[in-house]
Symmetry: C2
Subunit: 409 residues, 2 copies
Amino acid sequence: MLVVQKYGGTSVAGTERIRNVAERVRQSRHKGNKVVVILSAMAGETNRLVDLAKQVSKEPDGREYDQLVSTGEQVTIALLALTLQSMGVPARSFLGHQVRLLTDSSFSKARIKSIDAEIIHKELNKNTVVVIAGFQGTDPEGNITTLGRGGSDTTAVAIAAALKADACEIYTDVDGVYTADPRVCPEARLIPIITYEEMLELASSGAKVLQSRSVELAANYRVPVWVKSAFLPVKKNGSKGGGTLVTNRAMEEMVVSGIAHDRNEAKVAVRGLADRPGVAARLFAPLAKADINVDMIVQNISEDGYTDLTFTVSKIELPKALRIMHQQVRKIGAQKIEADEKIAKVSIVGVGMKSHAGVASRMFETLAREGVNIQMISTSEIKVSVVIREAEMEKAVRALHKAFGLGKK
Amino acid sequence: MLVVQKYGGTSVAGTERIRNVAERVRQSRHKGNKVVVILSAMAGETNRLVDLAKQVSKEPDGREYDQLVSTGEQVTIALLALTLQSMGVPARSFLGHQVRLLTDSSFSKARIKSIDAEIIHKELNKNTVVVIAGFQGTDPEGNITTLGRGGSDTTAVAIAAALKADACEIYTDVDGVYTADPRVCPEARLIPIITYEEMLELASSGAKVLQSRSVELAANYRVPVWVKSAFLPVKKNGSKGGGTLVTNRAMEEMVVSGIAHDRNEAKVAVRGLADRPGVAARLFAPLAKADINVDMIVQNISEDGYTDLTFTVSKIELPKALRIMHQQVRKIGAQKIEADEKIAKVSIVGVGMKSHAGVASRMFETLAREGVNIQMISTSEIKVSVVIREAEMEKAVRALHKAFGLGKK
């Protein structure tokens, strides 16, 4: 088997933990697997580098920023290769540009264009463990680019796809994907198998276990992805405690397979907006231009030619978004702009929704019974998201988890 | 003027100090200079990385080691470029491979083969400050290589040579080259101008202000090198307090221009060695093969067909050297092997020695008067080095400094 293993920042925080990773790699190789390892930077290191950049520059240039923050992964891959070698396991580390992981030039959120699989296959055929820096690539001019936060998951899936690997194993500090966040909902259960679609909705709804771009990529290239604990004893794929398999078919079609929550969004309401064609475009185009990601958008029914527009952005980008909104409103006119950071988004996700009616209404009834007021609603084919008060989030998650029978076996 | 400026680890230790470097660069550019900056890693960072490598591997593989330790410079160049940009100065950072600084594949002590000056000139012509990582390059296979400790000086001189720069300015924590180490000899004076030859002898005799490889390179390509303080106010080249100029001609031919000392060597004596042709080669060839640098070698006059060989190596390499010596002696036979770490080397250097007789004897007389016993002697055309007891080193330096009139104006 050709296996791509990815280890996150907490799994490589310090040489002791790197030794633990090396031991897992050795075991996988001992079973006869060819192993490619993708690593993140040590936990905290990327933040330290970002902090240095902030000390010298308010709006750091993307190219220099990426040159800076890509060093964290370079340290961990070299250390893992050295550790493997000291255990007698041949290993070789590669930076993004050394495996020609080509991206576009969108610094800090570059998109992967191609990978030179030949370089990697050549090393694997020599029986060498190939250790590759996650999160980074190079553009056609040789500038170092990074893929954005959590980009190492994307690196792992992209490399698994390029190599046509048998499995992509994402090792993290949880042992799989749960029906809800166990810290919020103690009855949450591990989901043994889940579809790409569901995983994608969960990831983009705030479940932090996988980066949504990596799930998208896995779905496109049909890469089977395992989410596993980097700290529990190694178990066979698919066995009890063996993590979650993300694939193109669920074992059984649960109506709802999981509940996700997200506290990182803020709500912006633009009230008393003249309801003319093109007004939404004039509000949102400059946000897009400033690379601010708008998540939910709700427009009220127009009244006397005026309307309200409400949308959510990440809390970090709220000040920038408000600055832009005030500029735009000065041009196009509106009554007022309101912002609220004390909100949370709760989402239910499940492929079963496609065929089962009444899922959304059961969600609303459950929340009503708990006295939780719904501020915004957004739906997709396999997801319903609501925005509620942040203080009521935990209560809402637990009630929904129970209402959809996720706690029972 | 095209100026290459190099700043060492203490000059870039922290974002405050990096701002100081940026200010100096800005001033130089403001005078109309095109500026290329070469940086070291933050003071302590390379040691931290080396320490991590040691934690995971007793004898780290060169390729992975270089992959690891080259990250320190990547951090400082990106931070300097960001700092310059935030001051309104266009700047761009480059790694070794990004300016095609090609080296051989001798990891951790790679030799520079070529540099793509065009890439740098193109940026300079756009009026951009070019910031380049010192200490690192790339081999023809794309592996990252490093040039060895202090390699950033060599990077600076090599780039100055490739660009045909008007000056190469090495900024450090001292304000120039002194007649002796001021911490040992309070009467030491700054040398305003010194020849490459003298600087080379001083550097290889333990004066730490410039790496000897960089001086060699400067001499070969006739690059004028200034040694200056990174912390004192900026002064005009050649003005009082303006540092030391290393060039091909001295202002006046001092008989002795400086005194260097080195506490980092250890002495190894092989006694009772059968004095046959080829015996020295059999002793030293395996040392060379193990990359152990032997400095001084003294062979006693043979007596009854037996001789003693004494040599010095760096203290760090002593255990390895002794291991090899014991192996070799087992094959070729000798009475015993002795090692002494409590030694120091003191050297007097000056181009004037070529034409002035009696310099060495004045040195020996001075040491005899101080009661300092000489254990080994080695001479070159412009240098005399002696090995003495480490405890007597400071006394010897001060006495010699006085005897050769270096303290007076």
